[in-house]
């Protein structure tokens, strides 16, 4: 006891601060949702000119888009602010965080809970629900469970990627764009069926880094389609396992990073 009220106080302060400038807040909200809306819109436009994409029709591809955008937006809402660790390391704010008697990671997440990203997350979930309603899914209890679990696993997975790339800044103080390539590049990668990519690029991103298990394989399992790339049907159900592995890896990296951390002295 005693720890929880402290966390709640941090959270309340955040919410109050962000809502105090209403116009800016609304503009941020619109801007954030807009980005996701355009991602989805792009996929729809592509299907205006072609009937299938990598062997999938519109309804099937939209399930992947839905899982991907719901998972990414929610991970961005809950864990995305960890990207700011770079500035905290550079400015020395991280020292202040580490001397408080609370966990470093939860504090950092609560120091900036970007409410403006909430609408984006809701939109992503909306896309997923719509896509599942329109796609021809023969529902079984297992598939219902998967439809709920897959986006959640995606949240954990993207969250792990966020934390892992943020950890870089403990070693390499101004490590901005390297991490972004994996987080945002990974999001764009999971938006489309993996069959549209090819060669070593697909191998590295889909299997090496696990991005294939975020949206593509769960969507195949939901739709009951065989994998054109030849993996067995049960692979789609391994998404939560892959996400947990990713989370364990990210947590280890984070702990090693915090131990390794030497203040910049500013």
């Amino acid at each position: 006891m005693g720890v929880l009220p402290a966390y709640l106080a941090l959270l309340r302060g955040q919410a109050r601060a962000q809502a105090s400038y209403r116009t800016s807040f609304v503009v941020d909200l619109v801007g954030n949702v807009g980005a996701t809306v355009f991602d989805v819109f792009t996929v729809l436009v592509l299907f205006q000119v072609t009937r299938n994409l990598g062997g999938f029709d519109r309804a099937e591809a939209m399930v992947m888009v839905g899982i991907s955008s719901a998972a990414f937006a929610t991970a961005d809402l809950t864990v995305g602010s960890i990207e700011r660790v770079r500035q905290y390391v550079r400015t020395g704010l991280l020292d202040a965080v580490l001397v408080r008697p609370l966990g470093a990671l939860p504090q950092l997440l609560l120091m900036d809970l970007p409410l403006r990203k909430a609408a984006r997350s809701l939109f992503g979930i909306g896309v997923l629900v719509t896509a599942l309603a329109l796609a021809d899914v023969s529902w079984t209890p297992g598939r219902v469970a998967l439809a709920v679990l897959a986006p959640l696993a995606g949240v954990v997975f993207f969250g792990s990627i966020f934390v892992a790339t943020a950890t870089l800044s403990f070693w390499w103080i101004d490590s901005g764009e390297v991490g972004a390539a994996f987080t945002y590049g990974g999001r764009d990668f999971t938006t489309y069926p993996m069959t549209v990519y090819s060669g070593w690029f697909r191998a590295v991103f889909a299997y090496g880094l696990g991005f294939g298990f975020v949206a593509y394989y769960p969507a195949l399992a939901l739709l009951g389609r065989a994998d054109p790339l030849g993996l067995p049907a049960w692979v789609g159900w391994t998404a939560p396992g892959v996400a947990l592995l990713a989370a364990a890896g990210a947590a280890t990296a984070w702990r090693v990073g915090v131990r390794h951390y030497r203040s910049t002295g500013s």
Binding site: V30, G31, F41, V49, T50, L53
Partner: protein
């Protein structure tokens, strides 16, 4: 990505062959840095800090001096940021090279106009700072709208005509990227090709006029402020 679309549609998509699409994508990546769609807030920064006052004391009109600086920047970007992606595309992809000689000068002219129009748009977005102080809102809206409407995410020809035509004629966005790209891959016969560049010319004039007007209004307002 777009190549997969071409594959799915069995070759030609919205009048583009796969080779044309590959060229569109790679040249587009190169042009992005030349026209500098995003990430210019020098003027807004100077308005916020008040440094803009010293710009107004110079004997050169601020729109002209900022435009000159931007043209220099674009020229440099042409050498450093435009060439690498285009070369990469040339090496690894099937490229559509211009087949008619007028395409080349037309493309050069089109890129020049695109830079001017894009500069004008950025200037206007930045100039909202004279009234708002904080340009984050207009910036976000510009960043959102410009990418998708300029043809960066997908060729605008994918859209149905009833959206495409008003967009092309009534907004400057397609003139930023879509026009020079369509010119270089010879998407249309030469009359249409020249026509799209003419549209750019009109927009460049309109936007610069707009910049001048806004600048004058802003300066009057600053005099009122006593700044």
């Amino acid at each position: 990505m777009l190549l997969a679309v071409a594959g799915g549609a069995g070759g030609v998509v919205a009048g583009y062959t796969p080779a044309q699409l590959a060229t569109f994508v790679w040249v587009g990546q190169g042009l992005l840095a030349v026209v500098l769609l995003w990430g210019w807030s020098d003027l807004a920064e100077r308005i916020r800090t008040g440094d803009v006052a010293s710009d107004l004391l110079r004997p050169v009109h601020p729109v002209v001096s900022y435009l000159a600086a931007d043209l220099g920047r674009a020229g440099y970007a042409l050498l450093t940021r435009f060439v690498p992606p285009v070369l990469t595309g040339l090496l690894f992809f099937d490229f559509k090279l211009p087949g008619r000689w007028p395409t080349v000068p037309l493309f050069v002219l089109s890129v020049g106009l695109a830079v001017v129009i894009c500069f004008g748009c950025r200037y206007l977005v930045n100039a909202t700072g004279y009234w708002l102080q904080d340009v984050r809102g207009p910036m976000i809206l510009w960043t959102l709208g410009s990418g998708v409407l300029a043809g960066l995410y997908f060729p605008l020809r994918f859209l149905p005509d009833w959206i495409l035509l008003p967009l092309w004629l009534a907004t400057p966005f397609p003139s930023l990227l879509q026009t020079p790209l369509d010119v270089v891959i010879e998407r249309d016969d030469w009359p249409v090709q020249a026509g799209t560049v003419a549209v750019q010319l009109v927009w460049a004039g309109l936007i610069l006029l707009g910049c001048r007007t806004v600048q004058r209004r802003a300066e009057r307002r600053m005099v009122v402020q006593g700044g």
